[in-house]
């Protein structure tokens, strides 16, 4: 889902799996570049599959809010930050390598 707004909140409907905490994910992009759109699509798909009903995605467009880049030390875009659960995780790229995203988010242990 493309982000027209600078900060888009995408919440899912109350989950079928009540236990477990809500995952807070933040995706930094810079305008609607192909990479931004791909990253958002990929993230949504991964969340749907693995975190059904327990995630919240915040999309931050740095073009609109450049000052927000400082807080999370964003250099590369897109960057995905897992704010919760702690510890904070950082993944860069358009998230097309699903395997690496899952490892990065601690959703799948490295074999």
């Amino acid at each position: 889902m493309p982000t027209k707004k600078s900060i888009a909140e995408v919440s899912c409907e109350p989950g079928s799996e009540p236990p477990g905490e809500i995952w807070e994910l933040r995706l930094y992009v810079a305008g609607q570049t192909p990479n931004s759109l791909t990253a958002f699509e990929n993230l949504k798909n991964i969340c749907q599959e693995h975190l059904e009903g327990r995630y919240r995605i915040e999309v931050i467009d740095l073009v609109a809010n450049p000052q927000l880049a400082k807080g999370d030390q964003i250099i590369a875009v897109p960057t995905l930050i897992r704010k919760l659960p702690t510890p904070v995780k950082k993944i860069i790229g358009n998230l097309s390598n699903t395997e690496k995203v899952l490892v990065g988010l601690d959703l799948r242990k490295v074999k």
Binding site: A30, L62, I75, V77, I92, S96, K100, V103
Partner: protein
């Protein structure tokens, strides 16, 4: 954000430059760094890259009113502020004035996972925001190469770097980007590939345990520039680059003369002393009195009310002051009056360039008329012949251009075997000097004596005579050598010869006196005799006169008695008859 990079190529005439504000750099680059373009500064660790970048930004703000951004990849803001405060740059003040922005971009490789394609637009956005925050005209990025440690996809990084430099150019911002030196390349990751306009390397060479920092302009597209390695210094007020040959022989020479403090020496120098603004070399072996001559010269300057700096490399200030009391010089008085300043430092404490810079700064601050450097030969452990000579040349040029008279001493090394040999090192230095005085220790008759002679004095009709050089409690004295029937003699031989001559003179004098006395005596005897004769004559005269008187009176008596007899006879006749 990704704009098409359209190169603003306004190639009309000379390349526009902005002054960096770094001392000396703008001289060798002919005006500064390329305006609106990135320049790369590379060097090993600890060679001053960060300082270079920071000084560029700060001088831009303070001297040229160009706001700036400093982006640090390796140091935290607080550390930067602290470090530069100790160098005398008040960063916080400039930040408060909205002239400066500092930002620390932190990259930690370990916490970043790469999943798919990305670019560094985030960096561009951050830089853009910083630039807009203060309307920056300058930006420094220290050390950009850190991003190579943060991201593994080098292909992306390289294309992004290329884009970054084009983007900076496009923004028309003058940038200094620093990079770590590689083993065989200018920078470890080949940043020089992207920065086509201006590349400067900083270096830190250690020779004989003394470090010298050097700066070199590797390339400067569209501009002529000095290609030498220029020594530079990091001192209390930042970087200063010293162009080795920036001085030219254009100083004006005055006809004014100044006294050396030794009347006899002035007499040997055409009666008036040295030229003002000239350079004087006093060379001699150990203990020939170089320091004493220098101190006398300094003392004479102070007596005239001129300021003087004594740069001593062998003794401490108090030691020189104490020692010079033995020849009747009270230097302390001048120090207290603020006319004399000592700069006593071990030659090996700093590199030649540092020495030069310190000496020049001292001259700028104190504004002396006379400087003494004692001795220059002590600089030789710090650099080789060419370096020392070039350093002295620059120093002398500097002094001359300010009409400062310089007196330099030089310790000769191997003159023991042949006292009349001029050493090679002296020959090197002496060509820089206008007046050259040589002091020699001459051994003979079981003693050493000091002699003094003027080898050259440009533009002054000077005496060619050797003089004996004495240090007395009343100061330095130059005496004639004994030149007589016995040849040339010094020291006690001269004194002995003079004594012998004096003795024979005494004897001759005594003889003359004796004869004189004899004559006087004879005269007195003669005069006595005359007096006695006169007296005897006077006595005789009296006696004779008395006798004559008696004779005369007796005659008279006889006549009288005859008369009386006659009377008697007649009276008897006449009286009785009647």
């Amino acid at each position: 954000m990704r704009k098409k990079s359209s190169n603003k190529t306004a190639v009309t005439g000379e390349l526009a430059k902005v002054p960096s504000g770094i001392k000396g750099l703008d001289v060798i680059t002919g005006g500064g760094l390329p305006k609106g373009r990135p320049a790369l500064v590379s060097g090993g660790p600890g060679c001053g890259k960060t300082l270079f970048a920071m000084e560029f930004i700060i001088r831009g703000i303070t001297d040229y009113n160009e706001p700036g951004v400093f982006v640090a990849f390796e140091e935290k803001i607080d550390d930067l502020k602290k470090n530069f405060t100790s160098l005398g740059f008040d960063l916080q003040n400039l930040i408060d004035q909205k002239k400066l922005v500092l930002d620390h971009i932190f990259i930690d490789r370990t916490e970043i996972e790469e999943a798919g394609e990305y670019d560094l637009e985030g960096l561009f956005i951050r830089l853009g925001a910083l630039i807009d925050e203060v309307g920056a005209k300058r930006i420094a990025i220290d050390t950009l190469e850190a991003i190579f440690s943060g991201f593994s996809n080098e292909a992306i990084l390289r294309s992004e770097l290329r884009r970054l430099f084009l983007w900076l150019k496009d923004k028309g911002i003058t940038a200094v980007v620093t990079g770590e030196r590689g083993d065989h390349t200018i920078t470890k990751y080949g940043l020089e590939e992207y920065v086509a306009d201006c590349v400067i390397t900083l270096d830190h060479q250690v020779k004989n345990q003394i470090a010298t920092r050097r700066l070199r302009i590797i390339k400067y597209r569209g501009s002529s520039h000095g290609t030498d390695e220029y020594p530079f210094l990091i001192s209390a007020d930042g970087i200063s680059v010293l162009p080795i040959t920036s001085m030219s022989l254009s100083h004006t020479a005055t006809k004014e003369r100044i006294k050396s403090g030794i009347p006899r020496l002035d007499a040997m120098l055409g009666g008036e002393g040295y030229y003002r603004g000239s350079s004087v070399l006093i060379s001699g072996q150990a203990g020939t009195g170089k320091t004493s001559i220098s101190a006398t010269f300094a003392d004479a300057a102070c007596r005239r009310g001129e300021k003087c700096i004594m740069m001593v490399f062998e003794e401490s200030e108090s030691q020189v002051v104490r020692n010079m009391k033995s020849i009747g010089l009270d230097l302390e008085k001048w120090i207290k009056k603020g006319l004399l300043k000592f700069h006593a430092v071990r030659p090996t404490a700093y590199s030649l360039e540092m020495h030069l810079s310190m000496m020049i700064r001292l001259i700028d601050e104190f504004k002396p008329k006379v400087i003494v450097v004692d001795p220059i030969s002590n600089l030789y452990p710090v650099g080789d012949d060419i370096q020392v000579r070039s350093m002295l040349m620059r120093f002398i040029d500097y002094a001359k251009s300010h009409q400062i008279t310089g007196l330099f001493t030089n310790l000769s090394e191997d003159a023991a075997t042949n006292p009349y040999t001029l050493e090679a090192t002296q020959m090197h230095v002496s060509s820089l000097m206008d007046t050259w005085i040589i002091l020699k220790n001459i051994e003979g008759n079981g003693e050493r004596n000091r002699t003094f002679s003027i080898i050259k004095a440009r533009g002054i009709a000077h005496s060619n005579q050797l003089r004996e050089f004495l240090m007395t409690p009343q100061g330095i004295q130059l005496l004639d050598l004994y030149k007589g029937t016995e040849g040339v003699l010094f020291g006690s031989a001269r004194v002995a010869q003079e004594n012998r001559e004096a003795a024979s003179r005494v004897i001759r004098n005594e003889e003359i006196e004796r004869r004189q006395r004899e004559l006087d005596r004879k005269k007195r005897i003669m005069e006595n005799e005359i007096a006695m004769l006169k007296e005897k004559f006077a006595r005789d005269e009296d006696e004779i006169r008395i006798l004559i008187e008696q004779d005369l009176s007796r005659e008279k008596v006889v006549e009288q008695s005859q008369d009386e007899l006659a009377v008697l006879r007649k009276a008897e006749n006449r009286g009785k008859v009647r």
